[in-house]
């Protein structure tokens, strides 16, 4: 019985994993690109109350830090890399973000509605 326990647990875990990964539950992906020290798009519209995945690609030759004081997120996006950020379900409202390393040019907002 004990020998069976681990494979059985593994199977259960696998099923849970597959169920969790089913397309119906997958949060929508929203792309955000950093280029020439600016974000594109500078305004992201999302549905309030629905989690989403922010896929940030840094096309510049220098690292950038995606930072949002409103959302309590600080995330380094290395040069030429893509980072996938899980975003929580947001209440209606506007949430600002900046590229901390280029605050004067890199800024934008997420509007949840």
């Amino acid at each position: 019985m004990r020998r069976l326990a681990i494979p059985l647990l593994g199977l259960v875990a696998l099923c849970t994993f597959l169920a969790a990964g089913a397309p119906a539950d997958e949060p929508p992906e929203i792309a955000l690109v950093i280029e020439k020290n600016r974000f594109s798009p500078e305004e992201i519209r999302v549905k309030a109350g629905k989690p989403f995945l922010l896929v940030i690609t840094n096309k510049d030759g220098a690292p950038e830090e995606f930072e949002s004081r409103d959302l309590k997120i600080e995330k380094i996006i290395p040069a030429g890399k893509t980072v996938r950020l899980k975003m929580p379900a947001l209440k209606r409202g506007t949430y600002g973000f900046v590229g901390e390393y280029h605050e004067k040019t890199a800024m934008g907002q997420i509007v949840a509605e």
Binding site: G61, A62, E65, S68, R69, K72, E74, I76, P78, R84
Partner: protein, 284 residues
């Protein structure tokens, strides 16, 4: 140049402050020979920052997505815990002095594991170290003209200015009386730790490990925590222009808990025990 100066000053300020405090602490308890713990901790913190900077630049996938954030949050809580522990020790020293028992400092020195101050130096440097390293690297990568190199100079000067401030804390600490030094640095450390603890809770909100709580107030029109003055207050006291409910609660709860731990009146029984220990030490 000005912009990069403010950014690196902001990032390095907390680390410099902590280094100034722990070097000052060792100096004041007459343990200069233990400086190496702090130096080692700081150097390891710098090495870890460089390693982290390299790691995030070369990693990709899930490790890059979540790894650095989890480490970042863990470092904040670790630092807050270590600082509380250290404050508790300084409080013991402070009490020993007020009781005219200066020689007890020696005892305290032997009793406290001084490597803890080394760990404080490590967490202090590592907390914002990787960000500072990557930022400076980015500025250098972009420097192609005089303006670009001016930015590099600004960034380096920012780290230098932070180091000077840390040095000023160290020097200033030598001018005040020992009791005052312990009291002042204990208070400073508690506010620092409260800020770290509350920032850690905020980070957990951002990571989705805690639910998002509503924003409690917005004083960014009055004093943005990104400005020079605001950054200092953020580093020193944990000032936030737009704190969430949980961040504010964490800050208040930490301060209240630490105050109870450190400032509650000493029970007579405990006093007797300490005096007894002192007599034994004097006899032995």
């Amino acid at each position: 140049m000005g912009a990069t100066f403010v950014i690196t000053l902001r990032e390095a300020f907390e680390a410099a402050l902590l280094l100034g405090i722990v070097y000052g602490y060792l100096d004041r308890i007459g343990a200069r020979e233990q400086f190496r713990w702090v130096t080692l901790g700081g150097a390891l913190g710098l090495a870890a920052s460089l390693a982290m900077g390299l790691a995030v630049s070369f990693l990709s996938g899930p490790l890059l997505d979540a790894g650095p954030d989890v480490i970042g949050a863990a470092v904040m809580f670790l630092a807050a815990g270590l600082l509380t522990w250290h404050a508790w020790w300084m409080r013991q020293h402070s009490r020993a002095i007020k009781g005219q028992l200066e020689h007890r400092i020696d005892e305290a020195r032997r009793a406290q594991r001084l490597w803890i101050v080394g760990l404080i130096a490590f967490t202090g440097v590592f907390r914002e170290g990787a960000e500072t390293v990557l930022f400076l690297w980015g500025v250098m990568a972009e420097a192609t003209d005089a303006v670009g190199w001016g930015s590099v100079a600004g960034g380096v000067a920012g780290v230098g200015a932070a180091a000077l401030l840390g040095w000023a804390v160290f020097r200033g600490g030598r001018r005040v009386s020992l009791a005052r030094f312990f009291d002042a640095t204990t208070a400073l450390i508690l506010f620092l730790a409260a800020g770290l603890f509350s920032a850690g809770v905020g980070r957990l909100e951002g990571l989705g490990l805690l639910p998002m709580s509503p924003q409690l107030w917005d004083t960014s029109w009055l004093l943005s925590d990104r400005s020079l003055v605001g950054s200092f207050l953020a580093g020193l006291l944990g000032y936030r222009a737009r704190p969430s409910l949980f961040e504010a609660l964490a800050y208040a709860a930490y301060l209240a808990g630490a105050a109870i731990l450190l400032f509650r009146p000493r029970r007579p029984a405990a006093q007797v025990a300490v005096v007894g220990a002192g007599q034994r030490a004097a006899r032995g």
